[in-house]
């Protein structure tokens, strides 16, 4: 009975419900001392948990940041077991649920239009030393297209004026595609930016959903129940009904002409100055006593994509007929570029697994181990690489694969305009080599281990 009540309590849990649960679980702390928006990112980077800054200098809106900074915090936000992020994401993507449209929504409890629209009323923080201006880093953009359907995605926005921000549409994305279609007709694209949405909606928006699949259907799959959406007040776009704040407006048909950036990018490096479209805000709607979410780069951005990467790894390994014991997207590889997989190996499958993993566009390096290795323990993985790998036989290098501009090692500045970078990838087969009997790797076991309990002595 108690379990059922808890399930009901969590039905369509909103952003602040998620924060309350993270606080109970020790993953979020409140800061009551007054802080400037200049200092919030530096504080988040040092804090051992996510922080909710209740008193922000000169603002009546609290700011929360660092929610998904680690695998543990993301697991807490999702209320999923920490070792099951990839597998649960894969299950959810396979079972999308259509969203439900509601009429009355918390995100529209307060509506500001006309001269009341003023972006400086939001505590948009200045985040990194070389950033071009304060940034909305945790916004989810919603748009619609009569032919392509609704879309949600994660895009950064740089503050320019009370009513305008520059939005990063530099690289290929669904929103860039939508915008290009209206830009070519010299028309604006109606867009809404939701700030402070639940991890389910945010992670779904960060996911590159297959064509024709609405990201909010993925959010429903992640939730296990339909996401609640409401029609925005001034643009024909659906947004999460429980969002803390929604900016409604248009991407102007100015093309890629407004200076935007630099900004601290997802790969952990300061990005370049770019030129991008402008977002003109026509209305700001919000909950009463809204909370502003400042996503902290790079780890929150990276971890929102981590489960999708792990799910993709499981999918390609499954297609290769390989039994997967575990997949880990590592922090050092920005939760996508570097992966470790443990498999129940049959002859030759160490290399097959590497070939499958390296076929994923995002994965640049991969390690495959047997299923006796704890892939969440980097020392264990290193042990396997040290003793189960011969460098001249067990390392695969693939050249001329699809690369990404954000990786300086591909020397993107040498490319011609429009030219795409290529990259080399490598994989390490750290499984027990064929022909070596498993007993050669018999691990040390302390004598009488089951008879000794630490708490009896220390």
């Amino acid at each position: 009975m108690a379990a059922r009540r808890m399930d009901q309590d969590r039905r369509n849990e909103d952003f602040r419900g998620m924060l309350a649960r993270m606080e109970r679980e020790g993953h979020l702390r409140r800061v009551t001392k007054t802080i400037s928006p200049r200092h919030i990112t530096a504080l988040c980077g040092q804090a051992p948990s996510a922080v909710l800054c209740e008193a922000v200098e000169d603002y009546d809106i609290p700011v929360v940041g660092g929610l998904y900074w680690t695998r543990d915090r993301l697991a807490s936000a999702l209320d999923w077991p920490v070792g099951e992020l990839g597998s649960r994401f894969a299950t959810a993507v396979a079972r999308p649920l259509s969203p439900v449209l509601v009429n009355d929504a918390p995100c529209q409890e307060v509506v500001a239009t006309g001269d009341d629209v003023d972006l400086t009323a939001l505590p948009i923080p200045f985040m990194h030393e070389k950033d071009g201006a304060p940034y909305i880093s945790g916004g989810v953009a919603f748009a619609d297209d009569p032919e392509l359907g609704p879309n949600a995605g994660c895009y950064r926005l740089m503050f320019r004026t009370r009513r305008e921000m520059a939005i990063d549409l530099f690289t290929a994305s669904d929103l860039r595609r939508y915008y290009t279609r209206t830009y070519e007709r010299k028309q604006p694209l109606p867009v809404a930016i939701a700030i402070g949405v639940h991890a389910f909606e945010h992670m779904a928006a960060a996911y590159k959903a297959p064509a024709g699949l609405n990201e909010m259907e993925i959010a429903g799959g992640l939730r296990g129940e339909p996401a609640h959406l409401v029609r925005a007040k001034t643009v024909d776009v659906m947004v999460p009904a429980n969002a803390e704040i929604v900016l409604e407006g248009e991407l102007l048909p100015n093309g890629w002409t407004a200076d935007e950036g630099p900004f601290g990018e997802f790969a952990g490096m300061q990005g370049d100055l770019k030129h991008n479209p402008l977002f003109r805000v026509g209305a700001i709607t919000h909950r009463r006593n809204p909370i502003f979410y400042a996503l902290q780069m790079p780890w929150e951005n990276d971890w929102l994509n981590g489960p999708a990467t792990e799910a993709a790894c499981r999918r390609v390994l499954g297609l290769a007929g390989i039994q997967v014991a575990g997949v880990r997207a590592t922090e050092g590889g920005c939760c996508g570029w570097s992966v470790v997989a443990a498999i129940k190996k049959r002859a030759g499958e160490g290399r097959n697994a590497l070939a499958a993993l390296l076929s994923l566009p995002v994965v640049k390096q991969a390690i495959v181990t047997d299923d006796d290795i704890d892939i969440y323990n980097s020392d264990e993985v290193e042990w396997a690489v040290t003793f189960r790998c011969q460098a001249d036989k067990d390392i695969i290098i693939l050249s001329g694969m699809k690369g990404k501009h954000v990786d300086p090692s591909v020397r993107p500045w040498d490319l011609k305009p429009g030219e795409l970078p290529t990259t080399a990838k490598f994989g390490i087969d750290a499984t027990i080599p064929e022909g070596i009997p498993a007993f050669r790797y018999e691990r040390i076991v302390p004598a009488f281990r089951s008879e000794v309990r630490l708490e009896d002595y220390l």
Binding site: S36, P37, R38, E57, D58, Y59, D60, I61, V110, A112, D115, D116, V117, D118, L119, T120, A121, L122, P123, I124, F126, E129, K130, D131, G132, A133, P134, F159, R160, T161, R162, D259, G261, P262, D272, L273, I284, H286, P290
Partner: protein, 67 residues
Amino acid sequence: MTSGRQADPALVKQIEECLREPVYFRDILDATRDQKYRAVLLAWSDIRTRHALERDEHGRYWRAERA
């Protein structure tokens, strides 16, 4: 959420002075430490509305003098 505030002309002038040479946005926040953050954003909004600012490859801003 409070709207309706106006940019402080003295602060706008102070930031315009900063923009006589290439500066990062961080430099502007440094030069205006005695001011409230929101006041700086209001002044920045005013400046960006009235002037087309130059940017260099590092992302620094400056204000080109009119001939």
